[in-house]
């Protein structure tokens, strides 16, 4: 991992409220270019909300998001996707009626620029563009070892494979920043190992910066460079896996929640 300590993203003093609920209370942290940054914390801590702020689904009441050295104005989620930020969802959000291949093809959306007119007449570059992007998608499919389910409607796939297809869709975008919301939730040990390997490979080979939410401490400690710990909307720890593991506030927060 070539982490060079330049900030890809800088989150400054974010406050996010839903009516009376304060989901994020004045949180700041940064994400270095090329690192794997984990966000952990008990249920309801505000982790998903933070990811939703980063990709524009939620608009915080206060605070700033800096991306690649520039302060980001108010942007729509689809515009943020065009800036090179891709994501997966905690509750898989695939296009259920479409094949795995087509789902991953939608990940190429931001790279396909030919006009609607060109697409309608299937000339003027649209067909060429389609084939070129299809090649990228086939590489993603090979990388994730899902050739055998290319044509299967994703609704019919088992959970673990759906998660993999969803990762594929995000990877197809060749993002600069990849946001993963609990990519290994509900997986068995073997599937988790596969998923960890894919994430590490993406990070190593393509230099993709990754921000991920994960509950499995073993995995988090293994693959991440730095960890942010949230609890009740507050940041209670931030540092390398070792630092976080020995942080008293973090230990208390986790002991206070019986299921962890």
């Amino acid at each position: 991992m070539n982490v060079d300590n330049t900030k890809m993203m800088d989150i400054k003093n974010i406050v996010l409220r839903f009516g009376g609920v304060v989901a994020i209370q004045n949180i700041s942290f940064d994400i270095f270019k090329g690192e794997i940054r984990a966000i952990i914390g008990p249920n309801g801590a505000g982790k998903s909300s933070m990811l939703n702020v980063i990709n524009g689904f939620y608009h915080p009441q206060e605070g700033e998001v800096w991306f690649r050295g520039k302060k980001r104005g108010s942007m729509k989620p689809y515009q943020i996707a065009h800036q090179g930020i891709a994501r997966t969802f905690q509750n898989i959000a695939l296009f259920k009626g479409m094949s795995a291949l087509d789902n991953i093809m939608t990940g190429r959306f931001t790279h396909m620029k030919k006009s609607i007119f060109s697409q309608i007449i299937w000339a003027g570059g649209a067909s060429k563009e389609e084939y070129e992007n299809r090649e990228v998608v086939e590489k993603v499919i090979d990388f994730l070892e899902i050739q055998h389910i290319r044509k299967t409607p994703v609704g019919a796939l088992p959970y673990g494979l759906q998660k993999r297809v969803e990762l594929g869709r995000a990877l197809a975008a060749q993002p600069e920043l990849l946001l993963l919301d609990e990519p290994m939730a509900g997986m068995n040990v073997e599937e988790k190992e596969d998923m960890s390997r894919y994430i590490l490979d993406v990070n190593n080979e393509f230099g993709t910066t990754v921000a991920l939410i994960e509950h499995d401490m073993g995995v988090v400690m293994d693959i991440s460079d730095r960890v942010v710990v949230m609890d009740y909307g507050k940041k209670i720890g931030d540092g390398t896996p070792d630092e976080v593991r020995n942080n008293q506030a973090v230990i208390d927060a986790y002991l206070g929640v019986s299921e962890h």
Partner: protein, 333 residues
């Protein structure tokens, strides 16, 4: 073959071809409903409006002539040019795209995240507005539309089938209207085109993506507003094709918008979200109502075509509420 059997075949054939037009209107409904969950009551009026615009442009009518004359005391009605059919069709497509943009900008944009019933009401308003607007723009007289599609019975088909009846039976060959045949061919091409477009282009995939999951679609960079415009444009185009066929058949008149109501039983039959359902549903209703009329009218009196489709759809609703191709509705508990 007996003549009765051949007559029945003829009735079915003609019914299927009438059904093609129901299918087209239903298709427009389904496209918008799938992508946005909006039940577009204005689909039928869109067909009328498209047909009116097509005739108006083709004949070089002055838009709003009535209004202009009333205000300025002039007597304008036609420009001194006419347009070839193909040019008029292209301009009408552009008008329907413009219409889609305006619908998005003036209505949909302001109603995001509203209840479906609110959106439905908005489309009812839209339907009546467009009907009035079309009237004001092009006048309410019945217009004949001729875009060069052949019309009248096919002599070839009559000759071809005349020998099918058994020796000694009274049978003069089957009657099919060439216009119906062309309508079927055009409708089939349209559906094939839409299928290919939605499978193999970026925008087609985006349409399907939005139909499945808005959040996920946004996350890969798809702008919902652009997709609304696209889907309303495509529905406008489908409406144009339907309006053109219907107009060529029965003249462009305001009763055209009533065909929207025939699309309703088609949708109940085919399911609101299924494109194959819209097509098959239209064909079943078309053939079904002609057959029913053919066999039952002599017994129970005529004009069964006015209600048969609705009763059929009602029966269908009772036994298969999700429609022919809809997924089984499973109640979550």
């Amino acid at each position: 073959m007996s003549a009765d059997f051949l007559y029945t075949i003829e009735v079915i054939l003609n019914g299927l071809m009438a059904g093609v037009l129901y299918s087209l209107v239903a298709l427009g409904f389904v496209l918008i409903f799938k992508a946005s969950g909006i039940f577009n009551y204005a689909q039928g009026v869109m067909a009328l409006f498209a047909a009116l615009t097509l005739v108006g442009l083709q004949e070089g009518r002055v838009p709003f002539a009535h209004l202009i004359n009333a205000v300025f005391g002039t007597k304008v009605h036609h420009f001194d040019w006419t347009l070839p059919a193909i040019a008029a069709i292209i301009f009408t497509i552009l008008v329907m795209v413009l219409f889609a943009v305006l619908v998005e900008k003036l209505i949909l944009k302001h109603l995001v995240n509203q209840e479906p019933i609110i959106l439905f009401m908005a489309t009812i308003g839209l339907a009546y507005f467009m009907e009035g607007f079309g009237d004001l723009m092009w006048g309410s007289d019945v217009k004949t539309l001729n875009v060069g599609i052949p019309q009248g019975g096919s002599l070839w088909f009559e000759d071809f089938t005349i020998g099918w009846a058994a020796e000694g039976e009274k049978f003069y060959g089957m009657y099919v209207d060439l216009l119906d045949v062309w309508a079927a061919i055009i409708a089939i091409s349209l559906v094939l085109f839409l299928t290919v477009f939605s499978q193999y282009t970026k925008s087609g995939r985006a349409l399907r993506a939005v139909a499945d999951d808005h959040q996920a679609a946004l996350s890969v960079g798809i702008s919902l507003r652009v997709i609304w415009v696209l889907v309303w444009s495509i529905s406008g185009f489908v409406a144009l094709v339907a309006g053109m066929m219907w107009g060529a058949k029965s003249g462009v008149q305001f009763s055209l918008s009533l065909i929207a109501l025939k699309a309703l039983p088609v949708l109940m039959l085919g399911g609101f979200t299924s494109i194959p359902g819209a097509i098959v549903g239209g064909l079943i209703i078309g053939a079904g109502e002609k057959l029913f009329e053919f066999f039952m009218a002599p017994i129970i009196g005529g004009a069964t075509e006015n209600w048969f489709a609705y009763v059929l759809a009602l029966l269908f609703l009772v036994f298969r509420p999700q429609g022919l191709f809809g997924e089984k509705i499973i109640e979550r508990v």
